[in-house]
Symmetry: C3
Subunit: 339 residues, 3 copies
C-alpha cells in the first residue's frame, strides 16, 4: 500500500488550522515521543508538554497557548485531539469492498440485498431481512430473520444480528458482537424455569459503534434501543428493553441489566454495572467497576468500591468493614443520624 | 407472517384460567402501558397495579385479588406471569428449520447426523460427534470432536462446542457461546508456563439454556457439569470442573472459577464472581457484582461491595476505608472482638 | 481412539523421576479420589495427602517427602504437578490436521499460505496476510488484512485476527477470541463523537495462549504488545496500546484499559480491572475483582473490595460506609493523619 502525503499547508487549509513555521511534507502520524521527522504529532494533554522540546516530529498540532514551546512547524487548533483525529484518518488504510454477494454466502430467498451492498464470504442472511446500499457485511457475519441494516453500515466480521435487529445508517459493529439474542426472561413454575418469549427487537440509531464480543439482547415486549451516536466498547452486555441515550459512551465490560434507562451524554467506566429498571439522567459519569444500585437524577460523577491496598492492609480494613455498624454505634455521639 | 388470534375463552380453557367479563379476540400481547385493544396485557408486579385504570389492553391476565380493579375482560391466574409467558409463546414466530444438511456444511466422515436433525450453512462437525433427531445446528456453528448433541437441542448461530461436550435434550445455546474449550490449567516450570492437559469434557443437562458469548471450559480430569434446567445469561464464564446444580440461574457477566460447586435453585446476580474450589449450598442468592470468597453453607442472600455515592463523598469514605483498622482501634472499648 | 499405555519405569526414565515399588502399566491419569488401578494419580497439594490411604490409583506421582504415606507404586518428583502435566500430555488426544487449504476457505490472492499450514473449512484470509508452516487455522477462523501467523500457531475455531496482528510461534488461541479490532478511541466534537483512527497493530510473542472470547484491541499509534509466554484466560479485555510482560497470567474476565503497562511474572485474578496509563511492576499479584487505580511499583499482592457477608449484615456495613468520614472525625484523636 502506498501511503499518501500532504503538506502542512494543505492540512491547515483542509481542517481550518493555522500554520506556524515552515511548510513541510507529512507522510504519517505518531506520538510526540515516537514520531519521525516525516510524521505529524500532537499535544492535547498538558501532561505531555515537556515532550515538545525533544520531539522529532516534523509537524505538531497543538493549542495556540502551547505554540511558543514548539520550535518547529506547528498547526494551531482549538481542539488538537480532534484535529489530530481528522488528520490521522487520512493515513488510515481503507479496505476495498466489492459490491455484490460472495459465492459462499447463503442468502434467503425472501431477503432483500441492495446491489450496492457488499456481502462477504461465509455470510448467512435470513428470511425477510434487508441490507441497504453501501452496507458491508464482512466475512462470517450472520444476519438472522426480520433484520434491517441501513445504508453504509459496517458489520466487520463474525457479527451476529439474530432476530428483529434494525440498524440505522453508518452503524459500525466490531467482530464477534451479538445483537438480538433473546433477553434473559423466565418464570418459575412448579420448581422449573419456563421461558418468557422475547417478542421485541433491537433498534440502533445512526452512527452508533458496537465493540467486539459485545451483546445486546432484544426486548421482551417493545425494543431495546440505542439512540444515535452511542459508543459501546468491547464485551459490554446490554439487557432486554434497555434504552441508552444519544452520545453516551461505555467502556469495556460494562453491563446494563434489563429495562434500565440511561440518559444522553453519559460516560460509563469499564466493568461498571447498572441494575435493572433504574433511570440514569443525562450527563452522568460512572467510574470503573462501580455498581449503580439506584436511579440517578442529578448529573455528576458517581462511584462505588474501595481503594486498592496491599493485601495485608486490605485484610485488616476488610475485617473491620464487617464490624462497621458496631464500631459506629460505639463512636461518640452516634449515628442513628443516617443520611 | 400471519399472526394467529385466539379468544379469551380459548386461552382460559387452554391454560386453566378463569374468564371474567365479555369474551374478546386476542391478536398479540403487550405491557399494560402499551398494549392495544386487540392485545392481552398482564399484571404480575403489584407496583404496576395503578396502570389497570388506564390500560387499553383488551384482556388482562391477573390475580383474582386484583380482578376488581379491572373494568374490562380479565383472565384470572394463580401466577399471572407464568400464564402470560404461556400465552405469549403462542405469538412467538417460530423459524422453520428444514431437516438435512446444508450443502455448505462440512461434516466429518466419522460424525453421525440423524436424518431428522437440521444442519445449517457454514457449519462444521468434527470427528466422532453425534447429532440427534430434532436438533438444530444453526448457521456458522461449530461442533468439534467427540461431542454429542441431544434431541431437540438448538444451537442458534455461531455456537462452538469444541471438545467432548455432551448436551442432553432440549438444550438451547445462544449465538457466540463456546463450550468445551481447554480449562485454564498450567504449571510453572523453570520460569515458564506449561499446559496441564484438559482431558475432561462438559456435560450439560436437559433443558439448560446458555447465553450469548458465554464460555464453559471442559474439565481437566473429569467433567464440568451443568445439571438440568440451569439458566446462564450472556457473557458468563464457567471454569473447568465446576458443577452447577439444577434450576440455578446466573445473570450476565457472572463468573465461576475452577472446581467450584454451586447448589440447586441458586440465583447469581450479574457480574458476581465465585472463587475456585468453593461450595455454595442450595437456594443461595448472590447479589450483583459480589465476590464469593468462602464456601456458603446456609441458604440466604449474600453480598459484598459498597453503595454508590457521588464521587466527592465516595473519595472521603474510600480514604477512611484505608484507615479503618486504626479508626477501630481508637474507638471506645475496641474491637479485638472480631467475629 | 486407542489410548496408549506406558509402564511406570518408562515414565520414570522419560521424565527423570524415581520409581518406588513394583513396576505397573499406566493407561491413563486421574485424581487420587477417582483414578482406577490402571491410572496414575498425583499428590501436589498437601491438603489432599489424606487421600493417599484410600486411592485406587495404580501409580502415584508425589514428592519424596510424601512417599512413605504411599503404599503402592510411586514416582518421586521434585514438582509432582509439573511431572503430572508432562505425563498427562501423553494421554491427550491430538486431532490430526491435514496440510493444505479446505475447499470452502476463501483466501485473498495476495495472502501467502505456507504449504505446510492447515486452513480449515469456512476460513477467510485477507489481503497481504501470511500463514507460516505448521500453523493451524481451524474452522470458521478469520484472518483479516496485514496479519502474520507464525510457525506452529493454532487458531482453534472461530478466532478473528482482524487487522495488523502479528503472532510469534506456537501461539494458541481458543475459540471466539478477537485480536486486532479497533481500540476504543474517540474525541468529542460539537457534541458528537468522532473516531480516532487506530493505526497500530497487535504483537503477540512466542508461546502465548489466549482464551475463548477474549478481545485484544490494536494500538492507536504503535502496537498493543504481549511479550512471550503470556497466558490469558477467557473473556479478558485488553485495550489498545497495553503492554503485558513475559510469563504474566490473567484469569477470566480480567480487563486492562488502554496504554497500561504490566510487568513480567504477574498474576491477575479473575474479573480484576487495571485502569489506563498505569504501570504495574514485575511479580505483582492482583486478587480477584480488585480494581487497580494507581501504578504499582513494589512486587507483592494487592486487593480492593469488601468481604462477602449475609445481605442483612452487609446492608448495615454499607450504610455505615457512607458515613465513614463523619464517624472517623468523631473518633477520639482523629484522623487528619491520612496516609
Amino acid at each position: 500500500m502506498n501511503m499518501p502525503t500532504f503538506t502542512a499547508a494543505e492540512l491547515a487549509a483542509r481542517f481550518g488550522l493555522e500554520l506556524r513555521g515552515q511548510d513541510r511534507t507529512v507522510a504519517g502520524v505518531g506520538t510526540l515521543a515516537d514520531a519521525s521527522p516525516s510524521q505529524l504529532g500532537f499535544l492535547a494533554n498538558p501532561r505531555y508538554r515537556s515532550q515538545l522540546a525533544q520531539t522529532r516530529a516534523g509537524v505538531v498540532v497543538l493549542r495556540a497557548d502551547d505554540a511558543d514551546a514548539c520550535t518547529g512547524t506547528a498547526l494551531l487548533a482549538r481542539d488538537p485531539y480532534v484535529a489530530f483525529a481528522r488528520i490521522a484518518a487520512l493515513f488510515e488504510p481503507r479496505p476495498v469492498h466489492a459490491s455484490g454477494i460472495h459465492p459462499t454466502a447463503a442468502v434467503d430467498a425472501t431477503a432483500q440485498v441492495d446491489p450496492g451492498a457488499s456481502i462477504g464470504p461465509h455470510v448467512s442472511i435470513g428470511a425477510r431481512s434487508r441490507i441497504d446500499a453501501g452496507a458491508i457485511i464482512g466475512p462470517g457475519c450472520l444476519v438472522g430473520e426480520d433484520c434491517e441494516v441501513g445504508e453504509d453500515c459496517e458489520l466487520q466480521a463474525r457479527v451476529t444480528l439474530w432476530t428483529r435487529v434494525r440498524l440505522g445508517k453508518r452503524v459500525r459493529i466490531l467482530p464477534g458482537a451479538v445483537l438480538g439474542a433473546a433477553g434473559f426472561g423466565m418464570a418459575m413454575e412448579a420448581g422449573r424455569w419456563i421461558n418468557v418469549p422475547q417478542l421485541g427487537g433491537v433498534v440502533v440509531g445512526d452512527d452508533c459503534e458496537i465493540g467486539a464480543n459485545t451483546t445486546i439482547d432484544r426486548g421482551a415486549l417493545g425494543d431495546t434501543v440505542l439512540e444515535e451516536d452511542v459508543r459501546l466498547d468491547n464485551q459490554i452486555q446490554i439487557g432486554h428493553n434497555v434504552r441508552i441515550g444519544a452520545h453516551t459512551a461505555m467502556a469495556g465490560c460494562a453491563a446494563v441489566a434489563g429495562s434500565a434507562r440511561i440518559g444522553r451524554h453519559c460516560l460509563v467506566g469499564g466493568g461498571a454495572g447498572i441494575l435493572g429498571h433504574l433511570e440514569v439522567c443525562d450527563r452522568v459519569v460512572i467510574t470503573a467497576m462501580s455498581l449503580v444500585t439506584h436511579s440517578i437524577r442529578e448529573p455528576g460523577e458517581y462511584s462505588s468500591g474501595t481503594p486498592l491496598m496491599d493485601n495485608r492492609s486490605w485484610r485488616k480494613s476488610a475485617a473491620r468493614f464487617k464490624q462497621l455498624d458496631r464500631i459506629a454505634r460505639r463512636s461518640p455521639g452516634d449515628a442513628k443520624d443516617t443520611e
